[in-house]
């Protein structure tokens, strides 16, 4: 294809947007509605995922070592733990350090534990992080079976509930995604149905005059691209303004320890980029679908 023909296709695609007046409006509206839904959903899902990730990150296994174990035994246990699959880090925390931490954590109340510094009732501890937080339970079970291990703590009960909550939330996300995709396809295929009647004659005539399928497709391809991009403007604006204000004014009100929203700055740009890309893909797909039927190949 010659460069000026490509220019011609660009020119033609812009003209078509004007020529097709209300059909352009209908298609852009369909994309706008879809992308607004997708955008809201993206904001929810990505934040939910972020929060879930934060919570999971805090999950760790604490293996308390029996006082009967000598230094060599402790080293041997450390080595054994490191060899378990899916371990990210193993940190040894001697009982003195444990006590200091405890006293610090408790603040003023910690004073009550000072007398124990002479005769420490705590144990040496291995603090273990797993690569995937969901492996914690499995790893804890393995460590429990080792020698000189007095007890293993990972937030039994609490962790199981947390994981089932996170899993449910993610599954709801997937259901929402699928539902939304169906909505989008329904909206867009409906719009295409309207445009098809008008376009069918147009394409027939183009073929009569000698236009190849590629030649016919190009302006449609570009037109779909512009429609998709146009359709993403309102959703992006809407979501950017809403999220910015939400992050600035509403988020600080929520003081739950682990609820922490994604910072507006890179996040709004990321969501905008995703929405533009989805808009473009939907627009191009819809536009090419509307011509495909009439290009006898």
């Amino acid at each position: 294809m010659k460069f000026r023909t490509l220019l011609r296709h660009f020119r033609e695609s812009f003209k078509n947007i004007g020529r097709n007046g209300w059909m352009t409006f209908a298609s852009v509206s369909a994309v706008t509605v879809t992308l607004t839904l997708v955008g809201v959903f993206l904001v929810l899902m990505m934040n939910l995922n972020h929060i879930a990730g934060n919570v999971e990150k805090d999950v760790e296994v604490r293996a308390h070592i029996d006082n009967a174990a000598n230094d060599d035994d402790i080293k041997a246990i450390g080595k054994q733990i490191t060899e378990i699959n899916g371990i990210e880090s193993v940190i040894f925390s001697p009982k003195d350090e444990e006590l200091t931490n405890l006293i610090d954590d408790l603040g003023d109340n910690g004073e009550a534990f000072k007398p124990f510094e002479q005769d420490n009732p705590l144990r040496d501890v291995y603090v273990i992080k797993t690569k995937s937080p969901q492996d914690v339970i499995k790893v804890a079970k393995k460590i429990e079976g080792m020698e000189y291990i007095q007890s293993v703590k990972y937030g039994q009960g609490y962790v199981e509930k947390l994981f089932s909550f996170v899993n449910i939330a993610r599954n709801i996300g997937i259901v929402l995604i699928v539902g939304l995709l169906f909505t989008a396809m329904f909206l867009i295929s409906n719009t295409i149905k309207i445009t098809i009647v008008a376009r069918r004659k147009e394409i027939e005539i183009m073929r009569l005059v000698g236009a190849t399928n590629t030649f016919i497709r190009w302006p449609f391809f570009l037109e779909g691209l512009w429609l998709g991009v146009l359709g993403s403007i309102i959703p992006i604006g809407l979501i950017a303004v809403l999220y910015y204000n939400l992050y600035k004014y509403a988020a600080p009100q929520i003081t739950f320890k682990f609820i922490d929203f994604l910072p507006a700055n890179p996040f709004i740009y990321q969501v905008s980029a995703i929405l533009i890309v989805i808009g473009a893909v939907i627009g191009i797909w819809g536009s090419l679908m509307s011509v495909r039927k009439f290009l006898k190949v």
Binding site: K2, E202, E204, R207, V209, G210, T212
Partner: protein, 228 residues
């Protein structure tokens, strides 16, 4: 040069539209195709621009065997022939100028050449002053002029027309015929299906009469031959 050899055409619904046609049309000829409604004239014409494929037999246009070209190559073949229809077949969202220019853009001509040539043919068919108008803003006769301009803009060797005056009043029909005569005088082969008895009887040319899918008459300077 157009040649049909033992051509038969049966539509998928079983209607036999063309039932064994042999014909030769030489370069530069002017041929009317006449016959009663449903005789198969449009089918005959459609097979010439590969809108329909014959069920059996062969068709050669400018040396190309039409049944054997692939669907995707059909537009390429059509660049060498001009086509005019009863319903004009103009792109409704394109201006008169754009409709004609489109046929040149398709073959990637230089923009300068397109501008020059499009205005030239619009002038030839007498519609240059309405170049910026949309088909909906033009009369039937004017739209047909645009369609004719488009059919000849790339200098095809053959122009095929199916009832080009079918939707036009007698006076406008004569004006359109003058344009066709002019085009034919320049050496373009012209095949035209028509019901217009006055035209056929006054502008005497070769007449091919089709009835029930067969050629029943082929005269060098024929008459329309049917009562209305």
């Amino acid at each position: 040069m157009i040649e049909m050899i033992d051509v038969k055409k049966t539509y998928p619904n079983g209607v036999i539209a063309i039932n064994g046609i042999n014909v030769k049309i030489k370069p530069g000829e002017f041929v009317y195709v006449v016959g009663p409604s449903g005789a198969g004239k449009s089918t005959f014409i459609k097979m010439m621009y590969r809108e329909e494929k014959p069920t059996s037999g062969n068709i050669l246009v400018n040396g190309v065997s039409l049944p054997s070209i692939r669907n995707s190559k059909v537009p390429l073949f059509r660049r060498n022939i001009g086509m005019v229809f009863q319903d004009f077949k103009l792109l409704q969202t394109f201006t008169a100028y754009e409709n004609v220019a489109f046929a040149m853009e398709v073959i990637e001509k230089e923009p300068e050449e397109i501008k020059k040539r499009v205005m030239e043919v619009l002038d030839l068919v007498g519609i240059k002053h309405k170049a910026r108008m949309l088909p909906s803003e033009l009369s039937g006769g004017e739209q047909q002029r645009v369609a004719i301009a488009r059919s000849i803009v790339n200098d095809p060797k053959v122009v095929i027309a199916d009832e080009p005056t079918g939707n036009l009043d007698p006076e406008t029909s004569w004006e359109i015929m003058n344009i066709f005569e002019e085009i034919n005088k320049r050496g373009t082969t012209l095949v035209m299906a028509t019901h217009n008895r006055d035209i056929v009887n006054n502008i005497k040319r070769r007449v091919i009469a089709i009835e029930s899918g067969k050629i029943v008459r082929d005269e060098h300077r024929g008459d329309y031959g049917y009562e209305i």
